[in-house]
Symmetry: C2
């Protein structure tokens, strides 16, 4: 299934897509803050949105659009103002953004999807946005993937971009994606955004189902601090420009496409976790032996999200008791006699009993994991077995450091 | 309903109870580590236990005992070793503890309940425990409430004890309680324990129902770091020694008793939250306007447990956006147009719209809240309204400080 290769280009790697990112003056910093992704032809569009009851105008807008018709030509994303909790005026701003961009691109505004990230309660600076549209439209290009990746981030330390290619009916089929994480140095900037482009032809319902499953296995399995944003959005376009045969039902080809889509989403999700505020390492939790994937994912995410586990990993402390306690409170039934815990290759607990493991070597394993350090792997691997059934799942998180608290406490409104 | 007064004595304030706390040598520190609460006569006993799948032997032991017969004479609690994840040997240790204490007290071991707190994976030091039983039995007294409160704590900064008195059928009826919090300076010491004594006469089923509701409104509504322990235990005894008329079904008398029981549990729960690791203030969240209490409690607990909200309060930052986002992700449906948020008396958001509030004064309100500082209130009050329905609920937590991370990262195994 994984016969794909990594290629350059992000969201503009697949055929028939252009993108750009420019400075519109929405962010006080003067950094890039307005991104456009454009498909040459109308693409099938699928979306997954925040489940938060407090939602941004763009989320309600996209949901309504995709209910009317699961297709789109463009995605417009602004950074700086979240346009959440902004009431009727926020809704009007969203409508106007689509209308103005539609005019400039000469396409119907119904084919434009929207996303926002930034400060909750702040409306988009519409004058700046409207004034920037001509530049946005004139700079959009097939090489603009990285520029778009840069313009959607807020407090992220790095851009997040990936593209994969495989062969289907002897033609190269590509999926590209960009994302921004839940950096929250500024107030209320808790948004996770991801935009995925694909040049396969696929039926709308199938594409939505694939995206929903891929998001459940990736973005929904990362946790930086457990907070879900008002603006979280994943949009995936499929425009058929690869000219590979259309995929209209499940089967080998569909599974291949879904596996690649899932890989793109997992890669971006891990990049977000790795860029978590104050993170010094990525934590990957693998769970096996449950009755189904949902249960395994629940246990994995509970461990990856436990403040006690995260603090212990920051302290490079092989504290298996905290891992066991987190596994046990995930809301999934298992026999504690079946619990097995590994940290890297070190077996810490087996049959529910603590083992006499090599503490110094286990500590050293943890110390050798660090984000951004040359010659060090950045991933701490926690492996859990809770039984002998076929369910398995994964989740990702980062450790909890002094810097997380510092970043989130020291902002002054 | 709240015609009670606070009295001294903790668990030995109600009639017919004795208690003690001694140093048995279970804690390496040499601090008190073994507590006994004894009722002069057989008491009705109710219990609420951890829902964690990884449980201590004492939890399984108490559940089995209370299923067999909802009554007890004594509670034995050791601090130092959690006796969780200790397998068959841990179970044998639990049985032996009860047997040995039963012999010394000349009561059947079935009437002894057990609790443990300490390091997960460590068996109780049985030789030390058995050697200490004569001293335990000889020191038990009607003045021993505070000694017991002291012997059950581990990393708690302060003991937690309360007693209330009211009049029922013209006789004083009393409820006392002690608790320990989820201090986790040492590894895996995530235990919440509480023991409640009462001298009312009440039917076993009614007493269990009252305790379950009281725990749902108190201990289940506090959150220090979201981790649920392997050993969490609340046991409540009612021995009838007040000689007030027996309560056998719901009605005015039962409601009065339950209100007082709930108040005892809330008081102890708040004391635990206030003593959360690194806490600089207590956070109380009040939610109104939901369809029922469960929904309101869910929203309240999600806000009190949000790392972003907790970090903002530590930074004394009136960050309403984080509160709104946490309310929205609690899993309770409401219209964002109905959302109202207050911090103290300051209205920050109304009808889902951010308001232009006095930031300096709101900051000052937050700065004037501090645990343990003379002349300062220690409670930050967050009030949320999500509609006009009758459901309301409360939750408590503490802020997230540098010290939380420090305490939980720097332990070395």
């Amino acid at each position: 299934m994984s016969d794909w290769q990594v290629i350059n280009g992000g969201v503009t790697a697949p055929k028939g897509y252009q993108a750009t990112g420019i400075t519109a003056g929405l962010k006080p910093s003067g950094a890039e803050d307005l991104a456009l992704i454009l498909s040459d032809v109308t693409a099938i569009a699928a979306g997954v949105f925040t489940t938060n009851q407090v939602r941004a105008a763009c989320v309600d807008y996209c949901r309504q659009r995709l209910e009317d018709q699961p297709s789109a030509r463009a995605i417009l994303c602004n950074a700086g103002q979240a346009n959440a909790a902004t009431g009727d005026l926020g809704w009007q701003d969203a409508m106007e953004s689509a209308t103005e961009l539609g005019k400039a691109l000469n396409i119907s505004p119904e084919f434009i999807l929207l996303a926002s990230t930034g400060v909750i309660g702040k409306r988009i600076k519409m004058d700046a946005l409207k004034a920037a549209i001509p530049q946005l439209v004139s700079t959009v290009s097939a090489e603009g993937g990285e520029a778009a990746a840069k313009a959607i981030i807020t407090t992220d330390l790095v851009t997040k971009s990936i593209a994969l290619e495989t062969l289907m009916s002897d033609r190269p089929v590509r999926i590209g994606g960009i994302a921004k994480g839940s950096g929250m140095i500024h107030p209320n900037m808790a948004t996770m955004l991801s935009f995925v482009t694909c040049d396969a032809a696929v039926s709308p319902q199938l594409w939505q189902e694939m995206l929903t499953r891929a998001v459940n296995r990736s973005f929904n399995q990362i946790t930086v601090d457990g907070d879900t944003s008002t603006n979280d959005t994943v949009i995936a376009l499929a425009n058929g420009q690869s000219r590979a045969s259309a995929i209209t039902n499940m089967g080998a080809e569909a599974e291949k496409l879904e596996a690649m889509l899932t890989e793109v989403c997992i890669s971006l999700a891990k990049a977000i976790a790795r860029d978590g505020e104050g993170a010094t390492c990525l934590i990957e939790v693998q769970v096996t032996g449950t009755s189904d994937e949902v249960s395994a994912n629940k246990i994995a995410k509970t461990i990856a999200g436990s403040s006690l586990v995260k603090s212990a990993i920051f302290g490079r402390d092989p504290n298996w008791g905290r891992i066991a306690a987190a596994a046990g409170r995930a809301g999934v039934m298992f026999e504690q006699e079946d619990l097995q815990i590994r940290l890297g290759n070190f077996l810490l607990m087996d049959n529910g009993q603590p083992l006499d493991f090599d503490q110094a070597a286990t500590r050293e394993y943890l110390k050798q994991r660090a984000v951004g350090e040359y010659l060090k792997d950045d991933t701490v691997l926690i492996t859990i077995k809770v039984g002998d059934r076929i369910g398995n799942g994964k989740a990702w998180g980062c450790d909890l450091s002094y810097d997380y608290v510092k970043i989130n406490a020291e902002y002054t409104t």
